[in-house]
Amino acid sequence: MKFYQPTTLKQALKVLANEDDARCLAGGATLVAMMNANLLAPSALVSLSAVKGLAGITRRKNGSVTIGAMTRHQAVADTAALDGGQRLVREAAALIGHPAIRNMGTIGGSISHADPAADYPTALVTANATVTIENSRAKREIDAQNFFTGYLETALEPGDIVVAVSIPAGVAGAGSAYEKFARVQGDFATVSAGVVLALEKGVCRHARIAVGGCAATPIRVAAAEAKLVGSRLQDSAVAAAGVLLAAACDPIDDFRGSSEYRLMILPTILARAVSKARVRAETVS
């Protein structure tokens, strides 16, 4: 195994282009655990720790927030830059693992691994985030929703690095929330839900929902969002949205819960997220 410590993105991309089966080392929270478990033995590790310009959070004039791929979960959890419809991303970051994991893990690493029970994928799909990807030949952007393609599978091709994630300002006056149900604090989600809402005189005029831990990727259902828009977010409307989402899900069975159990609690987790986002949207408007 080789070890590379590039200091520029260009160097890192060049190494990745030339090394078969090299892996980027971001925070190491997942990659090193898999190496320790003898699940992965890459030909080379390309550390991104010393690469300039990959970490940090920038809020632009138009209200969008760009998070560098090497930004630690704790930095996202602590930022004041994410507000309104973006707030759920910060909320999701604060719920990832434990303090030590949040000090190590990065947003780029987390989404590249694409565990469907992880917190960022669901929050970023809800927030309509864009992922910026670069390789030695080109740079491209892709919607979070299209970035996640399957169990531990993404739109990343060999040689690609996630360089940043951008969260648009979104709808004015929106409130958002990320709700997670886990067996113990810091575990991966059994079920999670992200919600962005905007209200006008108590009537919902915008809704975006994604649920996590219930399929190979975060699940969005346009008809479920449509159930909320125009409603006063009464229990029956939220429950109807939950039923539509559950119908589109196909959860795994594992020690965190059976498939049936996940589908059963999904509407409740969604209702909690809606209730939180609603209070926040009311406070804003």
Binding site: A29, V32, A33, L45, S47, H98, A100, Q185, G186
Partner: protein, 158 residues
């Protein structure tokens, strides 16, 4: 072909050098190369917290940190908390309250508690539980651990 990486670490205030392989973790280098065996190896998967150490002021998992990536960093292990024969506030509180059962998780618990109090000097009980949520005690003796952190907090840091 394997890269052997020379690294220099500042551990508990002293410089240490080692030659490491790319897959070596900081935990491996601390314990098996430099013999700082106070840091424990539990799950080696980042779950149990027994390997917690402080790197550049923040608590991290020794088992998930690639040693070659730690070049030039400043590390505090359990051996670095006491000042001579004087225990740190956290260590003293754990000792006085009998927060230790079998002891295996304790170096990680005490390191995590030390990092918590540095970030949040006066934590609530909930904040203590959250701050130590990544440190598992298989004797399940969490009550006295939480109390010890409260006592250490009341006495101030260091």
């Amino acid at each position: 072909m394997t890269t052997t990486v020379p690294i220099t670490l500042t551990i508990n205030g002293a410089l240490h050098q080692a030659f490491v392989q790319p897959w070596h973790t900081l935990l491996h280098v601390l314990r098996d190369v430099l013999h700082f065996t106070g840091t424990k190896r539990g799950c080696n998967q980042g779950i149990c917290g027994a390997c917690s150490v402080i790197v550049d002021g923040e608590v991290v998992r020794g088992c998930l940190s690639i040693a070659a990536n730690c070049q030039g960093r400043t590390i505090t292990t359990i051996e670095g908390l006491a000042n001579g024969n004087t225990l740190s506030n956290v260590q003293q509180a754990f000792l006085e309250l009998g927060a230790v059962q079998c002891g295996y998780c304790m170096p990680g618990m005490i390191i995590a508690a030390t990092a918590l109090l540095k970030r949040t000097p006066k934590p609530t009980e909930e904040e203590i539980r959250e701050g130590l949520s990544g440190n598992l005690c298989r004797c399940s003796g969490y009550v006295k651990v939480v109390r010890a952190v409260q006592v250490a907090s009341e006495r101030g840091t260091s």
